[in-house]
């Protein structure tokens, strides 16, 4: 594992977890049950997944962090303690916390604590305060790199160490969704839907279009109706400045995003960090990564606040502006390991030789490939239609839990 720069990937499902490993993440973060910021997500891990996640991560030499960073009420305390106890026993590396209840409890049982961005850490004194509990702290997303550097310099100068005795490490968000609220502390979703963003149940009001009218009904002219939806953060073009600012951990947002997103983004940032470290970070490479990053889900990119900013840049549309989309085709049927052939069934649409496909699955992770050969009933064909089983050579094992998608240009 690269100790110098840690790339941390989101794992909202086993598919994404495997994708993060394939993208060469140094660490992954995930949530279980309801006390995490994606409590409302369709596929959330549960208690029963803790051991398996720890086992997968430990055997791949990847650190695993459990997010437990919602607001905590009294009635959550016993569940919170159960989760922390079980995570520690299962061999999870650390807990990412924002509420003092979690920070204090995890620290009291000597379980490694990381301070979540929700805590809004913006200065050196706050770092000193949390250094009694935590070795890694995620800074507020609103800081400029000059402010970040002043904090990391201060840590070295004043020798601020965490419980492990090592200097406190600074983590920042490197890529993914931003929201309009300061450190995610947003009241909109609670106000409109009784659904608190700070309990992981954000309904994403900020992603919709709005008109602004005064009390007399006069509409304020605004150039962009998505006045509250920031573009996605992308820092790959100035990762050198970030590393020079003393940041040790780069976090990729996206526990709600698809596995191929996780793989692509993790891979790009791993390559970029490595390129910086071995002196090959270049304009051409940045262009290549930017192109690749644009192929997966995004709301358009901007630099966040790191470079000191004109005000926020707002998204130009609802949902993704990715240059490609995936279309579901069907599922894996069988794999013949001796001859490296996989059988799939096409349930919808069609597939031709030369098509780009993505295969995702809870054990498989993500496979991206070009179809070179299609066989139906042992005969080579150019195209396979809906309802047909076909086989194709693949050197990785395909399982019935795997889903097959065709990658198409976005319209």
């Amino acid at each position: 594992m690269n100790k110098q720069i840690e790339i941390m990937a989101p794992a909202g499902s086993y598919e994404s977890l495997m994708a993060a490993l394939q993208g060469r993440a140094d660490s992954i973060y995930f949530g279980i049950e309801q006390l995490n910021m994606r409590a409302k997500a369709a596929n959330n891990f549960t208690f029963d997944d803790l051991e398996k996640i720890a086992e997968i991560c430990n055997s791949n030499n990847v650190r695993s962090y459990l997010t437990l960073n919602t607001i905590i009420y009294d009635h959550d305390l016993s569940l919170m303690k159960r989760i922390v106890d079980k995570a520690k026993a299962a061999g999870i590396t650390a807990v990412i916390a924002s509420d003092q209840a979690v920070i204090n409890y995890a620290s009291s049982i000597s379980f490694e604590v990381h301070i979540s961005t929700q805590t809004n850490v913006t200065n050196l004194e706050t770092i000193k305060f949390f250094s009694h509990f935590a070795d890694v702290m995620v800074l507020a997303r609103e800081l400029s790199l000059i402010q970040v550097k002043s904090i990391t310099d201060g840590i070295k100068k004043e020798n601020i160490t965490g419980p492990s005795g090592n200097l406190v490490e600074i983590e920042i968000f490197a890529h993914g969704a931003l929201c309009m609220a300061v450190s995610g502390k947003c009241y909109l979703s609670l106000h409109t839907n009784n659904s608190s963003a700070n309990r992981g149940a954000c309904v994403q009001n900020c992603r919709r279009t709005y008109e602004v009218k005064d009390e007399e009904g006069n509409e304020l002219l605004i150039d962009n109706e998505y006045i509250m939806s920031p573009k996605d953060l992308c820092t790959i073009g100035f990762i050198d400045d970030i590393i020079n600012a003393g940041v040790k951990v780069l976090k990729i947002e996206g526990r709600g995003r698809a596995p191929e997103y996780v793989k692509t983004v993790t891979e790009c940032y791993r390559e970029a960090a490595d390129a910086y470290l071995d002196g090959t970070y270049s304009k051409e490479k940045i262009e290549g990564w930017n192109k690749k990053l644009a192929t997966v889900y995004n709301r358009g990119f901007w630099d966040g606040y790191y470079l000191g900013q004109e005000l926020g840049e707002w998204s130009e549309g609802h949902g993704s502006q990715a240059t490609t989309r995936k279309k579901f085709l069907g599922q894996g049927v069988k794999y013949f390991p001796k001859i490296n052939i996989a059988e799939f069934k096409i349930e919808t649409h069609s597939l031709s030789v030369g098509d780009n496909v993505i295969i995702t699955g809870p054990t498989t992770g993500v496979i991206e490939m070009v179809i070179k050969e299609l066989r139906v009933d042992d005969k080579s064909v150019e195209k396979v239609e809906k309802g047909i089983n076909f086989s194709t050579p693949i050197d990785q094992i395909i399982r019935p839990s795997d889903k097959l998608y065709k990658v198409v240009e976005a319209e």
Partner: protein, 76 residues
């Protein structure tokens, strides 16, 4: 009579229903999710048939539920 249904698995433990319809809901200390008192479990959906006097409180609880997993209907 009214029938209250709770899809408990999706509960995020916000505690609204307990605060609004205290006689019918409790917070579980064990898993931090709300429990429908006297609810019978059928494939993850907990159901209780109770008197009309509880209608208003439980309709309000259903309205407040952020994940919309409480259903209240009148039955004969």
């Amino acid at each position: 009579m009214i029938r209250i249904t709770h899809q408990r698995e999706k509960c995020i433990g916000c505690n609204y229903c307990v605060e609004i319809a205290y006689d019918r809901w409790r917070m579980s200390k064990k898993d931090g999710k709300c429990t429908l008192i006297e609810g019978k479990n059928k494939k993850g959906f907990f159901t209780a048939v109770v008197g009309d006097d509880e209608y208003i409180a439980n309709v309000n609880a259903a309205k407040a539920c952020p994940v919309k997993i409480i259903k209240v209907e009148k039955v004969k």
